[in-house]
Symmetry: C2
DNA sequence: CCAAGAGGAAACCGATCGGTGTACAAGCTT
DNA sequence: AAGCTTGTACACCGATCGGTTTCCTCTTGG
């Protein structure tokens, strides 16, 4: 009932999974998940092999959404430097919203310690896609070492997400300032 | 049986808790914890009010150990810049060890989403102590904005820990290079 | 109008969760 | 030796875990 009510059971499950796994962690029970989705456990286990697969699928869908938006934004107006900074503006913006708890992919990787877990594989792939996007923008911007720059940006990105999500930091310009320093030092116009 | 066998039940419990909560996450059961510590559940609940308190106490002890080492290292040989870089050398070194899973305090904060959880309070205090240490070194090193620098260093520190712990990054100089850039830009000699 | 499948409600499975209660065996101190 | 604390062993509690099964009610195509 927290999500769309007219969608297919599969969509409703993924919606609920996205929200509950993020808010309450991967230890949320199948019972609560199905109840929130308005779907019977029986249906869930017909659509997915296990709870773990539901989690993996929900992360996969989230990652696809991000990838689509990033791909669409590649030829947006602005310089590569502006596009990189825009990402961190968005991070700072969402980080102050009420339910913010950091990057969902990183959270999943931390919670399920197993790097071979299906959801871990999906999450890692999503993070790598983002790093690739940073590297591409670095190349376009004339970075001396685009790969190094991309790894540095991911460091800041994940650090900011983790610290803001854990209520250790409020950002408010911190990542912008830091990223600017790194872009300057890296030779990005 | 994995830890010292001649210590007090309390110490054995904290030893086991430190290891198991880090390796398997906060969802490790009381049964497994006590068995690993060689302590009966009855004793555990006489020494601690709840499993959550055991977790908080184990983090507290770990934080005290770190604080002692940092306090001892403040008047070590070397410049503030060297002392800051030394911390990140250590991070890069332990990050390649087999059982490494990132910063235990950050992991606890991510897993227990509740910022009011007793263990969360302990973990956050530990992180703040570290940020203070960075700021002090920044002041000693002549940083233009010591507080900003400390926050940036924590961003890199936590980002590196999270990413290396999640097997997303291998570091190998990445943090040293990044921190050097930030120290240069921040005016630390 | 009726058959067939989809999907929901809920009982049920064994296992485990955090936490207690009880009984008993050591080591102290006096 | 008596009495006390300390700690263990273990059964037990209700709740919940992930997952399965049964039953029944809808919708929909023919």
């Amino acid at each position: 009932m927290a999500t769309t009510d007219k969608a297919s059971p599969r969509e409703r499950l993924l919606d609920a999974a996205t929200e509950l796994f993020y808010r309450d962690g991967v230890s949320i029970g199948v019972e609560a998940l199905c109840k929130s989705a308005g779907v019977s456990k029986r249906s869930m286990y017909q659509l997915f092999d296990s709870k773990d697969e539901v989690l993996a699928a929900s992360l996969e869908r989230r990652a696809s959404g991000y990838a689509a938006r990033i791909a669409a934004g590649v030829d947006d107006a602005g310089t590569p430097r502006e596009r990189i900074l825009y990402i961190f503006e968005q991070v700072e913006k969402v980080s102050v919203e009420p339910g913010f708890m950091g990057c969902p992919f990183l959270a999943a990787l931390v919670e399920l310690k197993d790097p071979e877990h299906p959801a871990s594989v999906v999450a890692r792939a999503a993070k790598e896609r983002m790093q690739d996007a940073f590297r591409v923008q670095g190349e376009l911007g004339g970075a001396r070492e685009p790969e190094l720059l991309a790894r540095q940006l991911m460091l800041v990105f994940d650090g900011a997400n983790a610290r803001a999500g854990a209520k250790l930091e409020t950002l408010d310009g911190l990542t912008l300032e830091t990223v600017t320093t790194l872009l300057d030092a890296g030779g990005v116009a």
